[in-house]
């Protein structure tokens, strides 16, 4: 009841092609996350699906039915905007009721669904407040509430958490994940936050300049990035990338190794280096190690207890099993 298919969908603003023809299928009940650098077309893609933008060419199908020319209101999709776009002059109750009112749902039915949504989202005490009197997290729940009462075919989220502070984000992330588990409705989610993408998605779509670079589960992307772009984009801190002789040793144009896949030791190892800045997070420590022969320092993760400091000499050993190899075009060598 929420399968979305994009068939050669192309979008241009004037002469500028923002999305070159693109195919994508989102299965019913799936949680799909779009990631990519700023300006790569994530929002545009979402708005195309929502019907807030016209496609320049191509076809959008929702549940096998052609929706390309349907107005947004007819697509049975609910969208949660980055700014939530709550109606500031209406109470929470009225905000949630609005789509039902537009659809002509009878009053009692409205009440029932509002109660249910409010309970599910922990909003019961705030139903009579205005959005201006709510915290960021509460607002977001209202936005979701407004979406779920419609029982949409799919939810579309456009960076819904980017306005929240870190602590709230973690909480909301879990809530949305749980909501998805419970409702089993298709969700399409745009974010530029690594952690959100990795933790929430069933399937991540990595976009660059309107092109799909890779589609896959989070671990697939982490473990087997299809190209250098994805390798560099997924994972934080970034994968260390080496080219030149070191890469040639592995028959590749470039090799990559993530900070967490390098062992650090004071005694011996593959590369010898000197510790630069180190960042102690308590749980972990990130060392930035300057290795002779490489321009960029290596980032290495060690446990929080390791007691090395600025200027210490250390040896680094990559875990060969986790080494990524890329060819001259930047494509993964299997």
């Amino acid at each position: 009841m929420g399968r979305i298919t994009l068939d050669k969908v192309r979008k241009a603003f004037g002469d500028i092609e923002v999305i070159p023809p693109l195919d994508l299928t989102i299965e019913d009940g799936e949680f799909v996350v779009f990631v990519g650098p700023s300006g790569c077309g994530k929002s545009t893609l979402l708005r195309l699906i929502a019907g807030l933008e016209d496609v320049t060419s191509g076809q959008i199908r929702i549940d096998r039915q052609d929706a390309t020319d349907l107005p947004p209101a007819k697509r049975r999709l609910a969208m949660v905007f980055q700014s939530y776009a709550l109606y500031p002059h209406m109470s929470v109750r009225k905000n949630i009721a609005f789509p039902m009112k537009m659809a002509g749902v009878p009053k009692e039915e409205q009440e029932k669904r509002i109660e249910a949504a409010a309970k599910a989202l922990n909003l019961t005490d705030y139903l009579d407040r205005r959005p201006g009197q709510l915290s960021g997290g509460q607002r977001q729940r209202v936005a979701i509430g407004r979406a779920i009462v419609r029982e949409p075919a799919a939810f579309l989220f456009d960076e819904p958490l980017s306005n929240l502070d870190a602590a709230l984000r973690v909480g909301m992330r879990l809530e949305i994940s749980e909501l998805h588990k419970r409702l089993k409705t298709t969700m399409v989610y745009v974010t530029h936050d690594q952690v959100e993408a990795m933790t929430m998605a069933d399937k991540i779509v990595v976009l660059r300049a309107g092109n799909i670079e890779q589609v896959g589960s989070p671990l697939e992307l982490y473990n087997r990035p299809r190209n250098l772009f994805v390798a560099g984009f997924i994972g934080s801190p970034k994968m260390n990338l080496l080219s030149g002789t070191e890469a040639a040793k592995h028959d590749a144009a470039t090799i990559g190794i993530r900070p967490e896949h390098i062992a650090i030791s004071t005694e011996s190892g593959t590369w010898k280096g000197v510790i630069g800045v180190s960042e102690h997070l308590g749980s972990d420590t990130f060392f930035h190690v300057n290795v002779e022969g490489f321009d960029e320092p290596f980032t290495v993760r060690a446990s929080g207890e390791v007691s090395l400091k600025y200027g210490d000499e250390v040896y680094l050993t990559p875990n060969e099993a986790n080494l990524h190899r890329f060819d001259a075009e930047g494509l993964r060598i299997a």
Partner: protein, 276 residues
């Protein structure tokens, strides 16, 4: 909403909007057209649109009758002068209200506005007597003072709304950087508020330019601005449509031209804090 608006719809909107725009503008257009007609053509029935004998006679007549340029320069001096004087008084006041708000700030602002509700006719005689005793009847300085006082509340309010949009942190930064209050206002606040000030200035010039009660009643020959100029055309003898149109065109043209060239500025600024 960036969905393509169909060209057909856009064309329809265009036609409609232009019709409405022209309808609203029409009285001014007609006045300007009439000012180039002869008196006979001005009242021709049915009215003539463009195919008449264009003449500048009316302008010549009007200029011969009254010294337009003196009225004009009085208008300029009075409206610009009162606006500048108003700014000088209003900037500190608006600064206080915007950056050091007290409980009574809103009340003070509203009180200031309420002084504009004094019906001028009711206080003309007292003011006239005061002006007579001060010896500033029929002087530009007298009018500058009156118009400053009249428009001050509006200036304060407008500046207040602009200042409130300026993040207080920037002023605090200046303070941390060692700027005195005066320096803070001159080097930081004022330049940042330039767009807002520009529209305040524009609006006040317009209001002062068009103010017709005080300017008429407190002047005679020397300080009389364009409002007094137009007052001598309000019902002359004989056919006067064309001459009236010419005089009207001359009276409103400067401000109209100024308004047109600065309309972007004005549009952006004229919000009185109505737009959050």
């Amino acid at each position: 909403m960036a969905r393509a608006v169909s060209t057909r719809r856009k064309l329809l909107t265009t036609v409609f909007a232009w019709l409405v725009g022209l309808a609203i503008f029409f009285p001014i257009l007609w006045t300007i057209l009439t000012s180039f007609k002869t008196e006979a053509a001005a009242i021709a029935s049915p009215p003539v649109w463009f195919n008449f004998h264009w003449t500048l006679d009316n302008y010549v007549t009007v200029q011969n009758r009254s010294n337009y340029f003196r009225h004009f320069s009085n208008s300029v001096i009075i409206s610009v002068g009162s606006t500048l004087l108003g700014l000088i008084i209003a900037i500190p006041a608006a600064w206080s209200m915007a950056f050091v708000p007290a409980k009574r700030t809103k009340d003070v602002l509203m009180w200031m506005l309420s002084t504009k509700m004094l019906p001028p006719v009711g206080v003309l005689v007292p003011i006239y007597l005061i002006f007579r005793d001060l010896g500033i009847l029929d002087t530009r300085i007298g009018l500058v003072i009156v118009l400053t006082l009249i428009n001050l509340p509006i200036i304060v309010w407008m500046l207040y709304t602009y200042f409130k949009e300026i993040p207080g942190e920037i002023l605090e930064a200046a303070r941390m950087d060692g700027a005195s209050l005066r320096e803070e206002i001159i080097y930081v606040l004022t330049p940042m508020a330039i767009p807002g000030m520009a529209s305040t200035v524009l609006l006040n010039i317009i209001l002062a330019w068009n103010e017709a009660f005080w300017t008429l009643n407190l002047t005679a020959a020397r300080a009389a601005p364009l409002t007094a100029f137009i007052a001598s055309y309000s019902s002359p003898e004989g056919l006067f449509y064309a001459k009236l149109s010419a005089a009207s065109t001359m009276a409103i043209a400067p401000i109209l031209i100024m308004g047109w060239f600065s309309q972007k500025q004005l549009v952006r600024g004229l919000t009185f804090g109505a737009v959050k």
